[in-house]
Amino acid sequence: MADHAHPSSHPEHAEHAAHEPPNYWRIYWLLVGLLAVSVTGPMFGIKAVTIITAFGVAAYKAYLVAKNFMHVSTEKPFVTYLLLTVVVFMLLFFAGAAPDVMKRQGTRWEKPEWVQAHAEALAHPPAKHGEHAPEEH
């Protein structure tokens, strides 16, 4: 029971205890500041600014949380390899599936006409009085 009470003697803590912890409050206020940037950025109405402030900042915030709160940078390399592997699988999925969704045709295939016609109809839905949410699938 004694090793439960004193975590520094527990193998799950011994290696992390050797690292100097970051200033968590400083990281937190940085994250809050970045949140403010991601909310105000799109107010300028400039697409490039929106993309950078919303998604660029989101990626940086995720990096800060992973590095400083999850301590990925002080973790054994196995964990980094594990996480990178699943991210690569995710990107492979995206690269494989995105053309079917986003393109009209490829070198040996063409999207059926009805799919394109349906997308066009959705782009210009008929105005219906008093309807909140236009149907779109």
Partner: protein, 192 residues
């Protein structure tokens, strides 16, 4: 008592303690789950400009408030981990209770938000955008609820200075849930 500890909790082929390794495997599998869902959303969103008509109805300020809540709860979780490393179980438990409060606040705000949206006619079957919205945000909310429940169990032990290493393990999971929301927020609330 410690002699009865199963061998699987003491050996480590990767250099990562077994409990923490298990949590990292959970996180890895969750990346695939949420990555697939968000990847599908992104490709559909890029292919359908008209989704902006639907996404214009989501409330950015509510999303931003919930982001702030989750970031704050993550801070509490990591401060709990710090307290656990110093062997201060009661303080670690207090920080975990604060984290749970953040999780509960997040879910309550989400419930009010969804109620408002459903009353306005935006349901999971209204359009593909709303299907993605409710599926992604709902799956994330389920993870928040699961995290709060597990954290309650860990905090109860930590309060008595037991199994303090688990404070870090639930923290890793909680930070991951926070990261998922960090990406969901711009995708569902800002890209309009």
């Amino acid at each position: 008592m410690s002699a009865a500890r199963p061998i699987a909790t003491t050996r480590s082929a990767t250099g990562v303690p077994t409990g923490r390794l298990a949590v990292w495997w959970v996180v890895a599998s969750e990346i695939v789950i949420f990555g697939g869902l968000l990847g599908s959303y992104i490709m559909h969103r890029l292919a359908h400009d008209q989704w902006s008509v639907q996404s214009a109805h989501t409330n950015t300020w509510i999303g931003a408030f919930n982001t702030l809540v989750l970031l704050s709860s993550s801070l509490a979780a990591v401060l709990g981990h710090q307290a656990a490393e110093r062997g201060d179980g009661p303080k670690a438990a207090r920080q975990l209770y604060l984290t749970m409060l953040g999780g509960a606040t997040f879910v309550v705000v989400k419930a009010f938000e969804w109620t408002h949206e459903i009353h306005a006619g935006f349901t999971i079957t209204s359009s593909t955008f709303w299907s993605f919205y409710y599926t992604a945000a709902g799956l994330h909310a389920l993870h928040v609820i699961a995290g709060v429940v597990i954290m309650g169990i860990v905090a109860a032990d930590a309060k008595r200075n037991l199994e303090l290493h688990r404070v870090e393990l639930i923290g890793i999971y909680w930070h991951f849930v926070d990261i998922v929301w960090i990406f969901l927020f711009p995708l569902l609330y800002i890209a309009k």
